[in-house]
Symmetry: D2
């Protein structure tokens, strides 16, 4: 009757943890039956014993950059769809949503989406995937003709825009026009909220003063720039009553602004990522390792080529103040955060074609180093360890932000995000706290990147 039976685990939903003798029957990659106590025996079935384990719905990572088309030829140095999804599945993530990014000169999205499908299917993927479209030039034709087609025919349920980066930022009017369409179609609009002019002013002043070491990145992209843009995005959304998701919220001011909007019943959602819960800007100063506290020998430090800090450059940056980190945790706990993603945006530092961009001068320059961290594999173990097992959040809340709510945000709730009869059999098994005591190490990860920003962090649990 069932292809697979998982027996004696505790199924976790956003509000319930089932009794420890729960059996799950799976057939044709769908969950068919959940029962208290044994399902009828059948010798031909495959069994997995989950005795003593939590069973959570498969992780959904909705913020993953893979094989994106870049401006410069040498940019494609990170994960492929194959290596990225391999890494995802190894970390308990069974669905990813990656980005198909429009260049300013692209007149149509169709060839773009086609190209991304080609890239994804080339070497196969290890887990389910979908696409967001990044708009940088939202022409009327794209908005009125192409987006509805992509939404209905291609299942593309989300658009992303940037309020920062010279090559990508869109103005307020464009954002409003996009919001009018996403609202109408029921799509999710993701917004990278940083005020570009504020950031650029500071960068220019820093560069004029030759202050370009990696840790100045945190000064350049001040929390004020995130707060301003977040408020602006919320006001724009408010004008046209259109739901938006502020991605990778990293500061107290932005989080608090979002909470106020949510309290007032505005449809504002928030995403955050492991790096904003676990690391501070200080980590960019030293030889890295993200404040994990592990010690380095004098020898190691001498060998340090100055790029350890640069590896932690992402945008928004790791914040300087612990108040920001605490506020992100608070948002994680009190419900402000809707979804928890990795913002996996990897660049290998020792690239076959030569050393990384930004190292040319022999000195890491934050204005040249590519932004972004790898993290699709470590996302769930880190939140399970630092969130659930350190008793900051419940395991139900873990399920909510890593799977159930992401599924709702992106229109997948009828197939994914819950363990229930009729749903996809995307299942993760977590054995209890304490059975694992190890440090995260890039050696054990499955991406094709030569470092992890979380090297040396604890992982007291890991999905089976």
């Amino acid at each position: 009757m069932y292809d697979l039976i998982i027996h004696n685990g505790q199924i976790v939903s956003t509000s319930h943890v089932s009794s420890p003798d729960t059996w799950i029957g799976i057939q044709d990659e769908k969950i068919v039956c959940i029962q208290a106590g044994p399902l009828p025996h059948d010798a031909s079935k495959r069994y997995i014993d989950a005795k003593g384990a939590y069973i959570t719905p498969g992780g959904i990572d909705t913020h993953v950059h893979l094989q994106q088309l870049q401006v410069a030829p040498g940019d494609d140095t990170g994960d492929t769809f194959e290596s990225g999804t391999r890494s995802a599945i190894a970390g308990g993530t069974t669905t990813i949503i990656a980005f198909a990014n429009q260049q300013r000169h692209d007149k149509s999205l169709y060839p773009l989406v086609e190209e991304y499908h080609r890239r994804a299917s080339k070497d196969g993927t290890w887990c389910d995937y979908g696409f967001h479209v990044i708009l940088t030039n939202p022409t009327k034709a794209i908005l009125d003709e192409e987006i509805p087609v992509l939404f209905e025919k291609e299942g593309i349920s989300s658009i992303k825009v940037y309020m920062t980066y010279e090559a990508r930022r869109v103005g307020d009017r464009d954002m409003l026009e996009i919001m009018l369409r996403t609202r109408k179609l029921g799509m999710t609009l993701m917004i990278h909220a940083e005020n570009d002019d504020m950031v650029q002013l500071v960068i220019d002043h820093l560069r004029d003063n030759d202050l370009t070491e990696p840790h100045h990145h945190a000064i350049a992209r001040t929390p004020l720039a995130e707060a301003e843009a977040t408020n602006r995005a919320i006001c724009l959304s408010n004008l046209v009553s259109s739901p938006i998701l502020i991605v990778h919220v990293s500061s107290s001011a932005a989080m608090s602004r979002i909470r106020t909007a949510q309290n007032d019943l505005q449809p504002i959602f928030a995403e955050t990522c492991p790096q904003y819960l676990l690391m501070l800007a200080d980590a960019m100063r030293s030889s890295g390792h993200g404040g994990c506290g592990c010690s380095h020998s004098a020898e190691e430090k001498a060998e340090d080529d100055g790029f350890e800090g640069a590896k932690l450059i992402c945008s928004p940056p790791l914040r300087e103040s612990k108040d920001d980190l605490d506020a992100v945790w608070k948002g994680m706990i009190n419900g402000t955060v809707t979804t928890f993603s990795s913002d996996h945006c990897p660049s290998a530092f020792d690239h076959p074609k030569g050393k990384k961009k930004g190292l040319e001068s022999g000195k890491a320059d934050f204005t040249k180093v590519p932004n972004g961290l790898p993290g699709v594999e470590t996302r769930l173990p880190l939140l399970m360890t630092y969130g659930v097992e350190k008793e900051r959040i419940t395991v139900q809340r873990f399920v909510e932000v890593t799977s159930t709510q992401p599924a709702h945000l992106y229109g997948l709730q009828h197939r994914k995000g819950s363990i229930a009869p009729g749903m996809d059999a995307d299942i993760v098994i977590w054995f209890p706290n304490g059975t694992i005591q190890e440090e995260i190490s890039n050696d054990k990860l499955h991406h094709s990147i030569d470092y992890t920003p979380f090297e040396g962090f604890q992982a007291t649990n890991w999905p089976r």
Copy 2:
């Protein structure tokens, strides 16, 4: 294999609505199996066809006053445990928690609890029940010796205190001492938060000026008194880090104070009731009917004995400003409200022993009329109608505040509050919106009270 099968309904949890072909197998009053598609046929089973219906976990009403010991002899005019639970079950509520109230002179709680058990078991009950203990004189012996025993032996998981009513109010120091114990044991402390001195000052001034018609009740118990006491309770809780539940929140100021505390991760929970979502103080002025909009003939008005308004007297009162009502809805929607109860506190107005207290003078005097409304039966249909079917809240949120979260608050989450294998088979079936179009009428209710405050309100759905 199963005693009962409910087939083809959509099970609702706090975050998921199952596919429409879901079958539930029940055995020995427990849910045993949930399956997408048919369970094995067996001629001896009882079947319920739920095709097209929502299936929600049984309602838990945690604020119900039944047969309470009163000061004066003529007070016991409301529902018995028998009639109250009959009314509950007819409205989709499968578990109630009633109150065992200490009088100031009671030196021990044991006889009290025993007496309440006697009362509840005398004529039987139609649904599950439990008790909260109301403390008015928390002696050291009660706190240190009796409460732990009642918690562990009698399953009493909650205490209630009043900050108002001369005969019941406890001081800040007593509240702190109680909080220290509830925190230690993991009990829930329910607080009726109104500043009694503020209320009494206004009542005295109104009485001095002969302003005692029912609608002055709303002026006497100003939202300011609720806001002050709510803040005080939160500060006291904060001092000793003890979780509390503010019951029947009725005003914008109190709701907003609670939200702030929740945002700051303080363990403050909120309850509200149908009357604070659906009626304003104005309804106490006229011949009543709670603002339902139904018309009354001149004849009816002439016959009005002045008591229609008095029937709506409860504490906190119906509020004068629509802002307060809107704020309670906002709290219901944005997550501030943890639990939705009836505060069923009935008094029959035409009592066998004579007309109601407060009518002696031939004129309804709000300072004498007993406070409290009946509502255990109408609670769920009203929230389904005015919340879910008017699209203010999702059906998942309905389940959250009427069942799942109440179960968690009172330690019942391992047996009640979710539809999952292993849980009690407390199940409510709701056929879709629009199949019913009727007005609530006391004729159709099952309590032993001669009115409902919700007479004439719509009910577009009713549990089967």
Copy 3:
């Protein structure tokens, strides 16, 4: 010894009202002596008897548009420096600061300032005056070379920028660059804060639907656009620690955001104007008269050419909600408002060269009607009447917002803004409440405009 003696008045400062027998001795247009009781008698002096009157420092109106260079040739239809200052002095204003506005193509400010001096001196002025410079194209040369010169040589102590209007708006980066200079020099930066993209989106939609009657102006320039831009300006200021003045604050959201910044010790100042205290958008619907409540005969209404509403078009617009008006009063009372100006920006409606722009189609179109109201003369009498005499504010606060604080904001505090020995003899005498009971009427005003938006409003006091 003295050229002029004012005797037996009560001098008002921001915190003190002097005893009623105060004598002021003036010489060479300076206040020389203040004495309790008579100054030595001298037959040659000029005496003014102020018995029973308040004596306030001369009004300073820091937001006055006069004879501005416009884009289109027919635009110069309002007051000249001569008629504008005549109107000012007749309303108790002894100093105005007008605008010298850069056009986008102006490469230098020098000819501009020269031209404005020429205009102001052409026919003489009735009171003191100064200039702000409006920047629309802040080139490096202008910022680094010209502005310091204008500040030091020409006494230009303030710059204004617009965040709205296609022809004038400057971007965030330009605002930041300007702020860096104004901070360094100690100049005041005035900001017209409305998000242009938000406004334009609504205008485009209204125009597409042919909704261009005057009252739609209030919908087009939503409070949200003001709130967004105000927050952005405050964030930009915060980044570079530069003081700014948000001009003509008209909404609750903007006022509240400014208050928060002030509470946090950020150097954010606020200006408001009579129209935002006294009129609502509804006045643009009818035949006008600003909600003063005066009645109009059917005949008058029949004759109405549809332009009464158009006369009230200003930006930000009169607000639709009384909450906004109340919030502006609140800011006036609680100290948020730093300065109270007229934003005198007059356009005669029956212009010699033909009917007003916007009337071409025979139907007033808010997208074409010039924005701005005349008000330099009515500013002080309106605040004295509706503020002081209706007991919303004290007469000390009146002095603070109409004279003392404006003097400080624009670097005039050593000569103006207080009645004290050594200061300019800019003095206004107000006889007590109730001695005048009349309605404002354009007949009695001294500007060269053919209407006042405050026609029919009460003035229970008027400066002598």
Copy 4:
């Protein structure tokens, strides 16, 4: 013509600093004339040269405890009216308001006030004085009969109540009844806002654990207790629309709550004191000296009898967190603070009758040490030094909080609080910053107390 001329100083008001050549003519202890430039010469006059100096109105210290009737006989160990006012005048304070405190058993206030007048007049005073009445038992007779008499006949313009201290606290109902009277008469109601039950709970727990060293005082009287009581007082005031002054505000939460009320136009005033701007609780741990940073030799430490910390015990206590201190400064700067007083409440530690109460056991016990610090003399120099000369506040704001606003609060504005013709000649001269560079030392002070909590603090200015 004048008895005294002060020439060439700069008179400071709340909004103006006069030109440096200002002459003041004084006659019969009243300011008669203020002139820019010389007053007519007359050989008989007394002259004071104030060249280069600021001239401020005499300080008004409205929170001074002198020779209060105490419960226990040995309590009268502090300053007399003679020594207290001598100390006041030496520090630039020309008016004090002291307390006449009702004991619970006092049936009438008349003998009480008489007794205080006797005490004050016994040895004479060096400056003007008045009384507040402290109510601990506000009987109807006192409220309705005596208070109006004392207000009209005795010029007692203020009442004080305590929300803490077993012997003094009054309940909410009593506060409301008092507020109704103070509002009617226009008196100021001063409130010491700390929740006594919260404080007592913590004290009991600390005492049970033998944690009674001085610095535990700061833990016992937590900011939460101040925040709760402050909110409650504001709610009570709000109910009856009665102005109140929250005295000695010491924490961020209380200050912020007051600001919110002020923003909403509620008549809530705030007082703070030097100790809450300049010292943290940590100073109670060590051998004292208030965090002034001066070093102590090992010898000094060995000789320390443990009482240095005890000398800093006041209520509310010095706060543990710098956030609180910063918030008090913020309130001082942004206008929340209405008045700045000393709360001079002195107790000599080496009393002639034997060592201080609280030392009996040989160990300082915070639960026994009398609360209160001496400070009437150091109040103005400290604010001038740490406020004005460190550029936190302007000298105008200094005048506002030390003189002008206190005069208004207590009905003295027609005689005191400003330097203007007709006012009392209460004048303080401050020579410029930097002419003095010394440390405060008890040797130089004029009270009869054997220590100052500000020993070693800087005073870069001192009144002449």
